[in-house]
Amino acid sequence: MKIVVCVKQVPDTKGGVKFNPDGTLDRGAMLAIMNPDDKAGLEAALRLKDEYGAEVTVLTMGLPKAEEVLREAMAMGADKGILVTDRVLGGADTWATSTTLAGALRNLEYDLIITGRQAIDGDTAQVGPQISEHLDLPVISYAKDIKIEGDSVVVERQYDDRYHVLKAKMPCLVTALSELNEPRYMTPGGIFDAYDAEITVWGRKDLKDVDDANLGLNGSPTKIAKASDKVRKGAGEKVELDADESVAYIMGKLKEKHVI
């Protein structure tokens, strides 16, 4: 079985988000990490490798520095790393990103493509499903469990209050939630091997069946007008009432806001 996992290097938002004066993310001031949902997707692929035997390739698009997440993935147990990097691909939105990754994936053999549900620096959750559209593959998003049955995958798809069990014939694409698993640590020997290994680097010319009009900043229909950190919620309104009055008060507020 051949599995390709798409990963993204993102700024670590744990310590807060930092911005440049022009409102864009100050990536240099934040630690770069592997996107958590993608890491869960990688762990899922490595568990399938442990259980069924598989070749796991990690694919990323980004700056040359993004090779770090490929080395990390290989130190965890992935077999190959491919970095797609080119100036003309910079400034890509989800459409241009998925077009690029699909162009890279057309060069590869795969039974299963796993992506994270969404990246913590964009929170769009669009790239995975868009790749499946480009490649005309079935997609199952929000996976909290992935199993293989013959030539199909069986996935538990998470909802707020329930989950669906879905089966799809491979090749297909699955998007993973960080709740899917607890990713393994790297090993020291794995790190040394990963730094001895070759990373395949592809540019624009290596992308298959893609149109320049759909790549990079110029090929991105979405333009970011302004970005900001989460707006802190105010302290709210505090009232001291007994139980009956509280219910009446809350009902009144909900009606006032047209919630009920």
């Binding site: 770090e68 080395r71 990390e72 130190a75 393994r184 640590y185 790297m186 090993t187 020291p188 020997g189 794995g190 790190i191 040394f192 990963a194 730094y195």
Partner: protein
């Protein structure tokens, strides 16, 4: 000369740091309070290869260098001195002499299980009457047919009762030196747990590294196979000394980690703690103390990493000695650990004396680094010996 860590070493450090913060730090206080050996942590470390970092891949190890191993002990010790010494004694005092002096059969037999953490390693030289003075060793090994018969006892043995494989130093001969004085000739042996005649005595109750399993080992007509001899017969003393040279780099890393951990917590605390309407980090006394602590930690780190690199050259086959570098690293790092942890407690004020605060434990843990695997005085003997020869 480049003091910058390579990217792979940076990534290895990040791994050890993440593991220490997530898996080790939450247990450190309990391990100390209850004197509980962190077996579950050791199993996890085994799974991820931490118990065999410098062991070559052909023997089931990670095939990494000494610097990676040093950084592992350092990062673990930043949050828990006990966990740091478990890895250090296991790797430097048991796996390393087998790798350096073992026959191919011994390496194949013992190293894979040590590297995977399936078995824990220990080393026994010290006895009630023999510490710095190795001639005081009373444990004796006599060849009887195809077996060695061991009699005697060892004390203060790290990984004592939890160990599976022990390197034991015993005398095998008494010869006369040039002046006609009787001198013991020592040999090194590999002894497995469960061998009849090998038992454990008292568990030591210690000031610090309280989770570490420190025991007395007792040998009463303990029969081990003839091929349990490690290295040539009569060469036990140089084997023990060479093993301790490596061990000192491990303990120096533990000391470095303790000092760094105490400094980190003190920086956090002094920024939060308010007196006279401002944080105590705004006081010049605090600032100067922190500056001195950080400078000494940095100097210790450079000595420890330099010793690690020298040992790496030896491991790669160069004919170099790292004995003096190891002694300097351990001497300095241990004294810095004691000084920095003591200052850390002082800067924490009354809270620093309370067990709830990590620096209290770190100060107790630091003291042993000036004592075991050669006291600071022994390190000074080694260093001055090289100057005055």
């Amino acid at each position: 000369m480049d003091f910058t860590l390579s990217k792979k070493h940076e990534m290895a450090r990040q791994l050890f740091k993440d593991f220490a913060e997530t898996e080790v730090k939450p247990l450190a206080q309990e391990v100390d309070e209850t004197e509980h050996f962190p077996m579950a942590t050791v199993e996890k470390m085994g799974k991820y290869g931490f118990m065999g970092i410098p062991i070559p891949k052909e023997y089931g190890g990670q095939g990494c260098d000494i610097l990676s191993y040093v950084m592992c002990v350092e990062e673990l010790s930043k949050v828990c001195g006990t966990t740091g010494v478990v890895v250090s004694a296991h790797t430097s005092l048991c796996a390393d002499p087998i790798l350096t002096y073992g026959t191919e059969e011994q390496k194949k037999k013992y190293l894979p299980d040590l590297a995977s953490g399936k078995k824990i390693g220990a080393f026994g030289l010290t006895e009630p009457g023999a510490g710095t003075d190795a001639q005081g060793v009373q444990t004796k090994a006599v060849l009887d047919g195809d077996e060695w018969v061991l009699n005697g006892s060892k004390c203060f043995i790290t990984n004592g009762e939890v160990g599976d494989i022990y390197i034991i130093i015993a005398y095998t001969d008494v010869v006369e030196d040039k002046r006609g004085r009787k001198v013991k000739k020592f040999s090194a042996f590999i002894v497995e747990k469960g061998t009849p005649g090998f038992s454990f005595g008292t568990k030591e109750k210690k000031m610090g590294i309280r989770g570490s399993s420190t025991y007395e080992l007792i040998f009463q007509d303990c029969r081990i196979p003839k091929d349990a001899l490690l290295g040539p017969q009569g060469k036990g003393f140089p084997i023990a000394m060479h093993t301790l040279d490596g061990g000192r780099i491990g303990i120096a890393s533990q000391a470095l980690g303790l000092a760094e951990g105490a400094l980190e917590r003190t920086i956090e605390y002094t920024k939060e703690r308010k007196q006279f309407g401002r944080s105590i980090s705004a006081q010049q006394n605090t600032q100067f103390q922190l500056a001195d602590m950080a400078t000494k930690v940095e100097a210790a780190r450079n000595l420890v990493y330099k010793a690690a690199m020298k040992k790496q050259q030896f491991a790669e086959g160069q004919k170099v000695s790292y004995s003096v570098e190891a002694a300097m690293a351990k001497l300095y790092a241990a004294e810095v650990a004691m000084e920095v942890t003591t200052k850390a407690v002082q800067l924490h004020g009354g809270y620093g004396y309370i067990r709830e605060y990590d620096v209290e434990r770190m100060m107790r843990d630091a003291k042993i680094t000036e004592i075991y695997e050669g006291t600071s005085e022994v390190q000074r003997m080694v260093i001055s010996g090289s100057l005055l020869k």
